[in-house]
Point group: C2
């Protein structure tokens, strides 16, 4: 089977043009199939502030009301997505930017929660595997914005980590999928302030211990839970590390590699 | 050869949800290949006003400075494009929204003009015909936003009429292309305030006469000039008329049909 790299970069990379350029340059050097999933960043928040659209955060998550959905659609699927695509094109990468609505790439449903109304937030139902295969086999590298749709005309704001995980598992039967989460740190750190405390390898037993010892900080837990969901569903490896060291992450010479055993 | 409908809808349609829905419903009933090119509308202007980004118009054209480019990229390639796609998906149309940067669909260059600096405005150089054919033959209907790129990482604001004409002529060797400009009027009118004064057919000699008599108003001239450019380059027919009557425009029972002779 062919290798496929599904790479997610977060808001901190998107917000920093120098880091983004380093990361996209690394992405441009990937041989073989690759999909880039990007997060949002601070631009949506700053645009909301300028427009006087109040942002409500509940348990670290943005509540997406109608005006906020408009803003994230503009920023994620418009500004960020198209600028990444244009930059990749200039690096001779045949990049195509899509949202989940485009050719029904990612169908989702509006999140229902008894206690919190998250607004127009989507939970992923299906990935259009056939479409992705067709585009990849046409030597197109996909750039995916974290906006999905429900099939009834409603766009939905959707977590980029979850999208990356969904795409990775959706294609695990067709490709040797390597799922890489690029962010602003070296990987999973024993001491969050010490880059040299990188944990190079996590398996099920060590993850359990790290959680019990409360070494892994809050924002990292869903990343690793998603990683195990991906591994359980056929993904070959999950690597978490510094986005601009994409080549080393791919080679396995930096970052935290997560495996079953 | 297969038929291909290249349909452009303007800002007045995009701004009006009821008209847009009628137009997309008509689009959804097209049998065979179709590409929708959409314009901008007032949302970009109102967003610019809210953000305090001053808009400069010279000879009816928007000067696109860096902040304005950001706004039109967000609004055209993000908000408008993805909402149209989601709505078409809900009508069972396998729509995919692209900007000119995506998979190098439309390469352009920054307009140079000795007298006016238009800013980040693009003039179309090439259409990626191979890509369009590949997507159409996968039963995907394209929705194109009027944002292009220069291949060096720069996005460019580009006239949607010109894009529609460029796509139509670019594919004239592969398809029987019918280019339709849907807007808020019945077609070319003898009296701009009287819908019943529709000119059903224009050919080269009658166009010359209408121009001499100054019957055709300013905004219509570039549309018809583009129409003749398209016909000169192999497009089978060009029809201008009311966007929500898309089915009748396709059937030729309404609107103005423009031909060579």
């Amino acid at each position: 089977m062919q290798s496929l790299y599904v790479i997610k970069i977060g808001g901190n990379i998107v917000d920093n043009q120098a880091l983004l350029t380093d990361c996209l340059t690394a992405f441009s050097k990937i041989e073989g199939q690759a999909i880039l999933v990007h997060g949002g960043g601070k631009l949506a928040t700053s645009l909301a502030t300028k427009l006087g659209v109040e942002q409500t955060m509940v348990e670290g998550r943005r509540i997406t009301d109608a005006e906020t959905l408009k803003i994230v659609t503009m920023v994620y699927a418009g500004y960020i997505n198209k600028n990444i695509v244009a930059q990749l094109q200039s690096l001779n990468v045949n990049a195509m930017g899509l949202s989940g609505a485009d050719a029904n790439l990612i169908k989702a449903h509006k999140r229902t929660n008894a206690n919190i109304d998250y607004g127009f937030v989507g939970d992923v139902d299906t990935i259009n595997v056939e479409l992705v295969q067709k585009l990849l086999s046409s030597n197109i590298k996909l750039v995916v914005a974290p906006i999905t749709h429900d099939g009834n005309g409603q766009l939905l704001n959707t977590n980029a980590d979850t999208i990356a995980q969904g795409i990775a598992t959706g294609l695990a039967a067709q490709y040797n999928v390597h799922l890489i989460y690029g962010f602003e740190k070296e990987g999973v750190l024993l001491d969050v302030n010490d880059p040299s405390s990188l944990i190079k390898h996590i398996n099920r037993p060590s993850y359990q211990k790290l959680k019990e010892d409360k070494v892994i900080f809050e924002g990292m837990l869903p990343k690793i839970d998603n990683a195990y969901l991906a591994l359980d569903n056929g993904v070959k490896s999950v690597i978490i590390g510094r986005a601009e060291k994409m080549n080393e992450l791919i080679n396995g010479t930096t970052g935290t590699t997560i495996t079953q055993s």
